[in-house]
Amino acid sequence: MEYKYVGKSYIRPDAISKVTGKAMYLDDIRLPGMLHAAILRPTYAHAKILSIDTSEAEKCPGVVKVVTGEGCTFHYGDNIRDLVPMADKKVHYIGEPVAAVVADTPKHAKEALAKIQVTYDPLPVYIDARQAMSEDAVIIHEDMGQYWTLPTLAVVPGTNIANVYKVRKGRAADGFDDAEVVLEGEFNYPFGSCAAIEPHGSIVWFKEDRTIEVWSSSICPFIVRDDLATSYGVPAADVRVHIPDIGGCFGYKSDITVEQTIAWIASFVPGRPVKWVSSREEDFTSTLIGHGIRTQMKIGAKKDGKLVALQVKVLHSTGAYADTGVNVTMAATHNSTGPYEFEHCDLTGYTVYTNTTPVGAFRGYGHQEVHLAIERMIDMLARKLNMDPFALRSKNYLREGSVNALGEHMWKFNGDVATAAAKVQDLVFGHDKPKEDDTYFYGRGFAAVMKSPKGAPFSTKGCYMKMNTDGSININMGGAEVGQGLRTVVRQIAAEALKIAPEKVRVYTELDTQFSPYEWQTIGSMFTMQGGRAIVRAADKMIALLKNTAAQVLKTDPDYLEYDGEFIYLTADPFIRVPVTELARGYITENGITIGDLAQSVSDARLPRYASPDKNGQGPLGVTYTFGAQGAEIRIEKKSGKILVDHFASVFDVGQVINPLQIRGSVLGGVNIGIGAALYEEVIFDEEGRITNPQYFQYHVPTYKEMPRQTIEFLETPDPIGAFGARGIGEHSVLGPAPAILNAIYDATGIEFCEIPVTPDKMKKALEALKEYA
């Protein structure tokens, strides 16, 4: 649809401050009297702490305080309250805080760390869910049965299973009775790191007036606020959390990550702000990592390609704490159908404690991980059925009239995966593939994708706006700008809703729980859709308010009035009008008496009819789905096994493009992250639970020269929930690269990879094995 401001590219409101170096990130904040913390990490990934001797560290230059976890009486967490701010008596993973030094400078704090003596009694280490689920496994959380959890979760006390999530649709596993062909496979999406260029950091200040002030590189100021208030027994209103600019998130700065640890440390030096910024190594070992998902999948189909039944077991190596990982397991499980309809579903997700860094969101909650399974399996099934893989897919896409695994009906407005797929098919398979030559194999691969945003009963986004006497607008919201460009989106949606030029809309910069409207957290590709809805609602309220004032001025009823951005006027005679600038602070009448309210409004938007799942996991997520398709054209260098992505195509049905430049940028970057996962990236733990590659020169994120040529297109089937029809897109571009590239590897070589990353070494070995076999 044609809009005036929506659908056009505008420069980001924060672009200038970012190119001039004036954007303020966490590490750029300096406060009077600020102290610096350094944190000691254990030498074992799983061990009892026998003793900690801090006496030598306390004597070091500049040291103000040495802190341990002794005496901490609370656990925290929003889903499973299994977290502690600092280890006491036991360490569960290699990145856990064991002790900390607070000193006048970061250097002094780090130097003193080396003087802390800790003795450990090592315990067995489990890296993988399958080890931790074995019957004789040592229990990682002995007190698991006592942890508070959300009522929808099911812990299995006496095991290492933090939650079992089940989705049952139709006749579940019995549905395989109807199948004529059955295919099974197992796929692994190993640990990865969001690896944003800005490392995590926090500043916490326990003040003498018993308030707590926090600055953090987090996207969840209200969760941080509420958690700290609960842990320290103060009113939430007395905890003030600021969020400065954030240098990339991709998931691992959501929920609560490092803030409770820094608060615990700072609570020992009340009156002084304490700053901690992670080293790159700590960003890998001690914040949140991603993935760790093994998917066992069984598909039942008719001979004609009609999909009948799906059985999935998601084995999630969630790490030492499951609070953030449990949602990843759950969304992975219910999204494991991909964009297909199965009459019978038997999907189970196991959230399993392991002695690894806790897993959190990573551009989605397990969505990309299970797409590796379903989109490889569909290609394999097509071969087994001797069917064209596009025809097989097209027969089974979720479309108007179908019902997904959660029992939600699909409508036309949920989007058009079939058209997206046809476009990608044309872009990637519409021309001849180069013939194998002396140097390269060539291959092409495809993946169709679906992702639901991540909902919750209390998910809401607030918006406050005010009109100034010159007609300019200030908008304040609680959405965290991590680079995704939401400030531009806010500006454009507000401009459209208020019918004024975007240049007249000034969007908030930092977040501050003292001033910012409430927002649950900025996650799940929901800001444009849900936040956009909040803006439209606030704009409608403000326009109604202007009309009420104008009705008194023009001596008529508000419903006879129209608004055009500049004037409120009488519908029947537009010459009878009053400028909005004269209404912004109420209308001042001739004799100085002012009538009407200030032109300001507040609104929010939650998810329409989100419901907690029933015992079969059935229940609406209350939000819409975004469908799309992606395809890769690759080359494999025979000599080295190196895989080069020459062209990558993505088509998504986003409902409505708000900003063409930004949405392309979002997909470009997401595809790059997906390619990184498929070909290069893995956080590697050795048998002792130590990360062997916690640096950028060891953990390879894609570089400039590795970027493929990308074709990116959008379909616009308007969504009824999102503002002006827009749907979420932030996380979707990472869904297809791994399966599309692995499908392309098969196309090129006939080699069936079920695990990523496919590094040159692995590729070369597989090629050599192929040669020997032939």
């Binding site: 924060d14 190119v19 590490d27 690896a195 800005e198 990339g248 910024v277 392309r664």
Partner: protein, 162 residues
């Protein structure tokens, strides 16, 4: 023992008293409060700490302060002339090359160093320079677009002055 080091930074002469093993990034950020230069890793991999020393792009996180005694240093804060942005800043801001912005200062400085010394740098030379920087947001394409726009502007300006 702290020693005194003098240099010019963003056109101003400055002296600092620091230990000789102090890194340039720490002097820039913590002594001189020029926080536009960012720290993204600790071993010269990500490139966001890049500044210009005597006309050359240099990673400040592995450069000891002893190496820059007497040098001319330029940081991202020294580029704009009042309200007027450097062509590289303007191009990078407008091409979509900025998302989270944390890699941006390093990339801007890399391109400024390249285009100031070699306005006709080949695409290969630009590519070699940009390959020293990690960006997790943009997929690099808009950075390339910004670099090429900036190069055009720099070349046109040079032609005007010629």
């Amino acid at each position: 023992m702290a020693e005194k080091f003098s240099f010019t930074i963003n056109g101003q002469s400055r002296s600092v008293e620091v230990e000789p093993d102090t890194l340039l990034i720490d002097v820039i950020r913590d002594v001189l409060d020029l926080t536009g230069t960012k720290r993204g890793c600790d071993n010269a991999t990500c490139g966001t700490c890049t500044v210009i020393v005597n006309g050359r792009a240099l990673k400040s996180c592995n450069t000891a302060i002893t190496k820059v005694a007497g040098a001319e240093i330029l940081t991202v804060e020294g580029l704009a002339k009042g309200m007027e942005l450097h062509p590289v800043q303007k191009a990078i801001a407008e091409s979509g090359a900025v998302q989270c912005g944390f890699c941006t200062p390093g990339i801007v400085m890399e391109l400024v160093a390249m285009l100031d010394t070699k306005p006709n740098a080949s695409e290969q030379e630009l590519s070699n320079a940009l390959n020293k920087h990690l960006c997790r947001c943009t997929g690099y394409e808009p950075i390339r677009d910004g670099a090429l726009i900036a190069q055009k502007v720099v070349q046109d300006l040079a032609a005007e002055h010629a």
